[in-house]
Amino acid sequence: MELKVKDFESALKSLEEIVSQLEGGDLTLDRALELFEQGVKLSRFCSDKLEEAERKVEVLTRAADGTMKETPFTPGVEGE
């Protein structure tokens, strides 16, 4: 069974379901193995997402042609 994980929320939800299925116990060994493998993949996906860091602060400025531009923000420097 191929995993289709796009976002953190659904991955976490699937992981919870898998764990409770495994904890429910009533599974064939092969099915349990399959679920276990999926669970490990999902755990890894979730922790990767949590570690993925994009720490950035930008401020929007309006260019002459009216489009918005993103520039790094330094607190207290921009005047009003």
Binding site: L12, F36, G39, K41, V57, P75
Partner: protein, 450 residues
Amino acid sequence: MNLFDQRKIYTVLEITSEIKHALEKFGIVWIQGEISNFKHHTSGHIYFSLKDDRAQIKAAFFRNNNLYLKFRPEDGIEVLVRGRLSVYEPRGDYQVIVEYMEPKGLGSLQLAFEQLKEKLRKEGLFDEAHKVALPLLPRKIGVVTSPTGAAIQDMLRILKRRNASLHILIFPARVQGTGAAEEIAAGVQYFNSRDDIDVIIVGRGGGSIEDLWAFNEEVVARAIYGSEVPVISAVGHEVDFTIADFVADLRAPTPSAAAEMVSGARDELLSAVQSLFGRLFQSARLLIEKRRSALERLARSRGFYAAPNMIRALEQRFDEATLRMQQAMARFTTSLRHRERLAKARLAGIDLRMLIRGKTERLSRSRQLLAVNLRAGLQRRRSRLEVAAGRLDALSPLAILARGYAICRDAHGVVVRCAGNLRAGEGVRVTLAKGELDCRVEGVRLQPGD
């Protein structure tokens, strides 16, 4: 009869004008009362009556005077007005021409706040059903606030302290004064026009009710209500409530609290994932244990002796599955790190310069070899030429002539090989090694047998 002659008779207009004049002598008056029969005409003028328990007076509040009213007058509201008394001549009504009005009791801003709140509540802008939950793990936060205000400083300080992995995008907006509300609304709409914003925060630091007023304006409320992206309002201090707070999907008591809300979930989620991971392993181990004990029970049973092969096969299958599961566990816990190390090691092992040096050496060796081969070939060809030239020389008639032989040709230039072909008296040319002789045949001597 005389009495009648002294009567002063007014026309209706005259007496009305007199009354009007008399009333206008009151000058500016302040009147307190309750509004009734309130009408806001399309011309912009407002007409109503002021009343108390026992009396009422008509009032007109013209457009140029009522333009800057913050709150919305309506029936039943107790107000204090300042105005002048006058008469509306076509009707003979006397009335107060209002120049200024303020609500009694509540301040006018407070009243305006209550009125808008009530209006929007009725429209359903505060309905819980419309509110959207924040995403568990927001990535990119759009902040509508003043880039120089206290709010953004507070938020950034919190995010830095929490070491939050967030991308903050600031839409600079004035947060007080004329036009501020429109800028805040524009910010909310702008962030909705993008598709990468997970949460919007609108806010500012603390201040008076006038300072916070922009967040009580209808245009802001409607922009927040219309937002597809979840909005957190973070205005002023904990005690300050604004219309924006009621419409927003989530109210943060302060800007700092808003920063906590968008960054706080991460640590909890991390421990949740770790705990799920632990339970995953635990339950897998338990599953194996349960089967092992079941198997052991089976092994002790009498059926075991009856069908040992079957048990053995079962055992083998079990071992196989167990092994696969253990391998999977090991694989997954180590694979990524391991693969990374491998890749790094491979990368380090290849020295590009060594590679280039090797190729260069092979190239120059090839060049040398080529030169040697060329020279040898040339030499070989030259000696072959010399041998050929020697052989050619040996065969040359000139070489034969040099050894003392001569060639004799007849008058037609044909080489004479047989004396019988010539007669006495015929001229011949004899070619020697050096020079030629023109001779005449004296006699012909044939060899016997010719």
